[in-house]
Amino acid sequence: MTSDVTAACPLPIGQYTHVLMAHGGGGRLMQQLIDQVFISAFSNPRLDERHDGAILDAQGRRFAFTTDSYVVRPLFFPGGDIGTLAVNGTVNDLAMCGARPRWLSAGFILEEGLPIETLERIVASMRQAAATAGVEIVTGDTKVVEKGKGDSLFVNTAGLGTIDHSMPIGPRHARIGDAILLNGDLGRHGMAIQSVRDGLEFEGPIESDCAPLADIVMGLIEAGIAVHCLRDLTRGGLAAGLNEIAATARIQIDIDESAVPVSEPVRGACEILGFDPLYVANEGRMIAFVPESDADRALAIMRALPVGDGACRIGSVLSDSPGLVTLKSRIGARRILDLLSGEQLPRIC
């Protein structure tokens, strides 16, 4: 058969005409959706900053404004629930703008038949999380949809924070020579959700890292660290965060894989599923771009806080290839750390 071998290939799939789950996966398809549908419709200087929130000037004061919706399944998972996520996620987006989180709104879309007791537990979690993060929930909205038209409960929160300093913080402000600091081990939220969602039992429980990050940010700013850029590492994980910043700032980012902490249970679970922890979601992890001269002091500030006690330096900003993230592998070779197309999918073998 060997002589009649043909070099053949399937037809391409062009643009998707319907929304796929992968459009929400934090990868390249989501970036395309945002660019082609939302940015092209709403473009303005504040949106085009592509930050975790918008930075607004009003009567001489600066504010950060952000919103996020929460659709996590299951509603309760090891280390948190949809309520803690809805508060901390929005608090963290404000913090990543260099703002002190102050006020949140909470919108609930409830499906007919949801037990009131479930709702009360989630609301109690939100109250607790808001108290811990030092924010008030000051306005809200409730809608009920028919059975089958929603998945028990969706939450949206928007947040407003105050910016009491004049430092420009954002993806565009990352500089060549910056050190990149990470506040702890990666992948716990994503793998905690994966394990309960799919009934996978791993050795040792994996708990979500869901936590507010504003204390770290305020600590860095108050100590006079010249923070250039902050990013929380949610969907798409560290790889997505670094790629978005590299593309926006037109810089090359280089990280050392062996410097990135991943706990043993998360590594084990990722090995089984064929996942790379660098792409797994977190809800209490962030990176900070700071000048080399401030790096040691910034690390000490992060490590003094419980949510930063695993802080470490993972890489730096280079100049050679703008828009690119590179990684030194565990065995010392260098490669690209790319965005995924969509979600990570467990592999066949």
Partner: protein, 368 residues
Amino acid sequence: MKFIDEYRDADRAQECARAIARSVTRPWTIMEVCGGQTHAIVKFGIDELLPRDITLVHGPGCPVCVTPLELIDKAIAIASKPGVIFCSFGDMLRVPGSHTDLLSVKASGGDVRMVYSPMDSVRLAREHRDRQVVFFAVGFETTAPANAMAAFQARREQLTNFSLLVSHALVPPAISTVLGAPHNRVQAFLAAGHVCAVMGYHQYEPLAREYRVPIVVTGFEPIDILQGIRRCVLQLEAGEAKVENQYARAVKREGNLPAQHMVREVFQVIDRKWRGIGVIPRSGFGLSPAYAEFDAERRFGVADYHADEPSECLSGLVLQGVRKPVDCPAFGTRCTPEHPLGATMVSNEGACAAYYRYRRQQEPHRSL
């Protein structure tokens, strides 16, 4: 982590690479058959540690890549039928058929579910007796025992609403095909450790003798792969051609006999079409006559589907190791993971996707 850390140790890897460099006196071309090994080579940058005289080429061992187009079309047709629960491993969902993919079927209302084990789909069949549950049984010899077990269990429980869409490929006939091709330049093989964990490696001994090629059964971690390459090089330099087992912590010569027994119970060896390559005689598993009632192709009347694959991309040559992904003019421009021209760009383990993801800025490689 045991069995991981010691096989990803930077110092050991560098030492192993130096040992290879000391052994090499002239250029050699070695093929890793398995997509998992291709992925590891590119992800860890193993080939960058090797001397320039060693060329690694990537073989046809990615199950997603070699699943023929018409089989994807069959899966899409079945998954689109009302009342069907279509179960698949995750990485098959994005593979394009002639017109669409399984993720799009799901987005249009089809009940397409990602499972982690074929036994999950048997459980679904048990729980949903009023629905037809179909499992997309894809893979090489590695996944065959578990897929066979699903059929065996379904028959034992008389789950008449369960069936399998089978696309199993076998490694030794693919190696024969590569070696028998007139343009072949491959001089040694890394055989896939997990395939051999199931089937053993005695099947490779006649190939090594007949074609005079070293074949080293190799694991998937960086040190495994470097050791496998080193053993190939030592044999090549010494003019030897035998089967060696680098992956002795998981592989025995005779393989896993109970697993092989289960495979023989449910499957028979058949001729099979490989995407991008064509039909290879006796290169796949199909359901044996005793399990014909569990054949989804028959149950849903899709057995005679045929799809012509347009001859635009080089994936057939890439799958045989004749071309590197970066040699293709469409690579990274008209062909990307979002808009794949070929299966090797779709699957995570496909050579083109691995190159795109980890080193798309690399200059075109010297062609074989």
